[in-house]
Each structure stands twice: as C-alpha cells, then as structure tokens.
C-alpha cells in the first residue's frame, strides 16, 4: 500500500528501452494475461473458502468435538489472522517479484479476513453471549484481550465497506489509501488479541510465529519507506526536482 509508483521510474525507463524486466525469467509471470489472472483469482477464492467449507462439513457430520463453540470460535479466529497475513503479504511480495497482478488478489483476501472475522465476532457476541450487549460492553471495558480483539474487528468494518471500486472512486485514491492503512493497526491488534489470550498459559508457540510474520511484513514496509525517504533527500539535486527512487531494485 502506498507504493504505487506514479513518478517515472528507472524500471519504466528500462522497459521502454527494451531491456527485459528482471522477473521475465520466471516463466513470464511478470505479465500474465487477464484470463490467467482470473483463473488464479478463482482458484484462490475456492482455497480461501475451504476453512469455511470444512466447518460446514464438520458441523454436518457432528465433528465439532467435545467443546463445539470453543473449537469453531478458535478456528474462525485463526483463519481471520491467516487471511490478514495473506492480505499483508501481497504488497511486499509484489515488490520482491515484480508481479503487478498480485495486487488483483488483495481485495479478495482482505474481504475473506473480514468474512472469518465476522464469524468469529458473531460466535462470541451472538452465540456465546446471546447478544447481551451490556455484558459485551462490560467485557470490552474490563478485559484487554477482548478490548483489542473488538477494536480490530471494528476497524475492519470501514475497510470492508469501502472495498468496492465505487468507494475507491468516491473517496479518491489518496484518501482511500490513507484509510486502508488501518490494516496495519488491525494486524497489530489481532496479534495482541491472540497473544494476550495465550498469555495466562504462557503458550506462545503458535502466536509468536504469527507475530514474527506480521513483524516481518510491517518491518519490510518500514524499511522501504525509510530508504525511499533517504534516497529522496539525496536525489533532491541542484535542479530541485525530486526523483523518486525505483521501487524494484
């Protein structure tokens, strides 16, 4: 996010002069036909739906186990985090590979994160708490791991609502992008939610792997942003023109 390179870059120049882009060696993955991108999109859609299909199947075959609600709540929570991680992977992966079509998958993954997050939230507030809103607010105020989980989900709502092309146009790219940077906060809150949930039992084996992955994804962005700033300052030459550095080094 925020890395769409509007200024003419060295890559663009290179492409114009006929030098093949670096990623061309990887079976032409840098420039896929729209039809092929569509196929990848559809495949990924079905893969991302599998955890949900699995829950339907396990429910229909009476396999939720000894503590059904706990199992389903945890499963949907896990998949929310997985989808969040996948969403946040798109931009760095696109930068590293130079495959622009990856961006086409990001909205779908983000909406799947919301889809699983919504189930997770409804299982807690609806099924576990019987829509007892007073109790819910008490819980949110009193228990930090619920507070951050609740906040993460609340922040996902505006992002899901503004995910359509129409909303992007209405908000304008820059404002839309600024709003959707909330996803970083959501990821951090989601990790905190999971971390504090496991804290009482000192059971950080799984959650620390997710935390490390999210830290890596956010760290890469930070690193790139800092580097871009440093070279932008350097590139402010005698002419005063700011030359944005190439993002595909």
């Amino acid at each position: 996010m925020g890395e769409q390179d509007m200024a003419p870059s060295r890559t663009a120049t290179r492409a114009a002069t006929g030098t093949p882009p670096r990623a061309a060696g990887l079976g032409g993955l840098a420039s896929l036909r729209p039809q092929r991108v569509r196929q990848i999109w559809v495949t990924l859609w079905f893969v991302a739906l599998l955890p949900f299909v699995r829950l339907l199947y396990l429910g229909a075959t009476n396999q939720f186990g000894a503590n059904p609600l706990e199992f389903v709540t945890r499963s949907t929570g896990t998949w929310t985090l997985v989808m969040l991680c996948a969403t946040l992977t798109i931009t760095p992966l696109r930068r590293l590979t130079g495959w622009p079509w990856l961006l086409r998958l990001r909205r779908m993954l983000g909406l799947f994160a919301f889809f699983y997050g919504l189930q997770h939230f409804l299982l807690w507030i609806g099924v576990d708490r019987g829509f007892d809103l007073a109790y819910m607010l008490k819980d949110v105020g009193k228990r930090p791991f619920i507070t951050v989980g609740f906040a993460a989900f609340m922040l996902m709502i505006p992002l899901a609502l503004t995910s359509t092309n129409g909303m992007v146009r209405r908000l304008g790219g820059r404002r839309w992008q600024a709003l959707h940077r909330l996803v970083y906060a959501i990821a951090v809150l989601a990790i905190l939610h999971y971390w504090w949930h496991k804290a009482g039992k000192h059971d950080f084996g799984v959650v620390s792997r997710y935390a490390a992955y999210v830290a890596m994804l956010l760290g890469m962005r930070l690193w790139w942003a800092l580097r871009a700033r440093v070279s932008a300052t350097r590139a402010t030459g005698p002419s005063g023109a700011v030359v944005r550095p190439s993002l595909r080094k």
């Binding site: 599998l50 396990l58 000894a66 228990r143 619920i146 039992k201 000192h202």
Partner: protein, 333 residues
C-alpha cells in the same frame, strides 16, 4: 515483414520418432492433475475428519465399591470426551495433545515417595499404594478454570487414608504434590510453558477432607495415561489444575508450597483456586460454565447449547465451605 526463424527453432531437425504424440502427453497431464488432486485430497482428508483419532482403548478393570455418598446425579460425560479433551501440558498445550502423545508415558513400574515432616516416610510401589485402602467408585463434578466442566466417575480412596498411615508431625501444615517431568516420556516438558516439574499443594485440613480423592482409575478402569496415570489427585471443589496428575512425590511441609500456575501467573491463579462464580478470571467470567456433552443433539445445534451456572465450591459448599470460614475468598482466590 516475415523474419525467417532459424532451423533449430523450427524444430526441423527433431526426428518424428522423438515427438511425443498428443494423446500421450495429454494423458500424462491428466495423470499429473489426478496425482495433484490426490495429494491435495489426502492432505485435506485428516483436516476434514477430526474424530478419526479420538478413540481411546479401554484399560484394565479396576474393581471398586460404589460410595453413594459421593455420587452426583448429573449425567456423566462420555468416556470419549473424558479421555480426549484434556489439559495435561506435559504432553502439549492442545486439548487433543494428551490423548495423542501420552502413549509414551510408562505408568508401570511406578513409585511414589511420601516424605517431609512425617513420622513414617516411605517410598510406595504403585501396587502397594493402591492396596492401602479399599477403592471406591465416586462420581464427581469437574470444573476447569477455563470455563468448561465434566462429570466423571473416578476410582480411588480418600487421601486421608494415606496421610493417617504416614503420621504427619506437628509442624506439617501443608501437603505438596510433585508430578513426573521426564522429557523422554513427556514431549511437552521440553517446552517452557511452566516450570517443571508440576507442583501443587493443599493446606493440611483440605488434604484431610474426605472429598480429596487419591485416584487410580476412571469409568471402572485404570487411569488412561492422558488422565494422569497411574495416580493423581481429584479435588472436585477446586479448579481442575489443582488436581495433580502422574504424582511421584507427596511432601509434608511447614510453609505454603509453591504451585506451578501460581508461579506462572499469580494474578490469575491463586493457591486456593476454589471454584467461585463470584471471582472472575482476569480474562473471562467464572459465573457460568459449558458442560462438555451438553450438545443438544450434536452438529450445529451443539453450538447453541446453553451454559450452566457455576456453583460456589462447584456445588460442594455444604461439605467444604467450613474449611474457609472467615477467609476473604476474593483475596485468597
């Protein structure tokens, strides 16, 4: 403009015999696709079959006499749930880990050292310990600190029987239980979830209470490994973690002994840890509980099974409340 391609690119030099016929490579592709689908299917199959590993083999019978003074009338939780939904971190933190990985535990031969401030310290062989007093069948409610509960038919005798035989000295105020921590038998012990070995403790009057059961079996059989074989405590008025499993040492001491969960999170788990709906866990309420097996017909309906109200001292208040008379149970949680 027509650019003639070089000969090697046109493939004119490839002998016709070397060209793979279309139907051959098409069928090869089909096979590859089938193999890929098969691989995906076999990877996903266990993910779609949670109950496949759930069956626990039955153990040797453990004859005992029913003690009807200690039988609750609630429907007992199924043997399957009792033996596959466990917290026993020595075998991993997932509820299904103990039933999966406790097979490496060797409950025989087994010794329990009874030591400390007693007149007759002794290292008991398991068989000798088991024959110390007549075994009883009792059905207890079991409440986990996590907010779920079960009803379990145990086999054992009151810990008091053992305590009387070893004759505590006047200075003995507490009893400490130390459980096995052998990384060769217990894969979870190499993790840093808790300070191993697991340690639990009771005040002497709690330990002497007739409800405190030194337990050797469940459902009329010797304890399955994942339930704390071969000998464990069962303290039905306290949260489940107070009942130490796979005990190797019982020590009589003059000061309150360190207990594992209290060391790990003192604000969450107190020394007493009596079941108390009025004192919340910092991360969840203890007012209600989910009874395992209350699944209203299974499947999706199971999600909507109502919770039960948690009772003070897990419903054993009449028997044990006097032990805590005058104590502020919010402070001594």
């Amino acid at each position: 403009m027509l650019i003639p391609s070089p000969r090697w690119l046109r493939g004119d030099d490839v002998a016709a015999s070397e060209i793979t016929p279309r139907h051959v490579f098409a069928s090869r592709r089909r096979w590859l696709a089938l193999a890929a689908a098969g691989a995906a299917g076999s990877t996903l199959a266990p993910w779609f079959a949670r109950s496949a590993h759930a069956a626990t083999p039955h153990g040797a019978k453990l004859p005992a006499t029913p003690n009807n003074s200690y039988v609750v009338t609630d429907k007992p939780t199924s043997f399957e749930d009792v033996t596959t939904y466990n917290n026993f971190y020595e075998f991993g933190t997932d509820k299904s880990d103990p039933s999966r990985y406790a097979g490496t535990l060797r409950p025989q031969p087994w010794q329990v050292a009874v030591e400390g401030l007693v007149k007759k310290p002794k290292v008991y062989d398991l068989d000798e310990l088991r024959r110390l007093a007549p075994l009883e069948d009792r059905v207890y409610r079991h409440r986990c600190v996590e907010g779920w509960s079960m009803v379990i038919p145990w086999v054992g005798f009151p810990l008091a029987e053992l305590i009387r035989r070893v004759e505590p000295q006047a200075g003995a105020k507490y009893v400490q239980f130390i459980t096995l921590a052998d990384p060769k038998q217990m894969p979870g012990v190499s993790g840093s979830v808790l300070d191993w070995p697991y340690s639990e403790g009771l005040r002497m009057d709690e330990a002497m209470h007739p409800l405190a059961l030194l337990t050797f079996g469940l459902y009329g059989e010797v304890l399955p490994n994942q339930n704390g074989a071969p000998v464990r405590m069962v303290l039905p008025w306290k949260y489940g973690f107070k009942s130490a499993k796979s005990i190797v040492k019982i020590r009589f001491v003059d000061k309150q002994p360190p207990t594992s969960w209290n060391i790990a999170a003192p604000n969450e788990y107190g020394f007493y840890s009596n079941v108390n709906p009025a004192v919340d866990h910092p991360r969840w309420s203890q007012a209600t509980e989910r009874r395992i097996g209350d699944d209203a017909g299974g499947g999706f309906a199971a999600l909507f099974a109502p919770k039960r109200k948690t009772l003070p001292f897990n419903g054993y208040g009449q028997q044990v409340a006097s032990l805590y008379a005058g104590m502020d149970l919010r402070k001594y949680f």
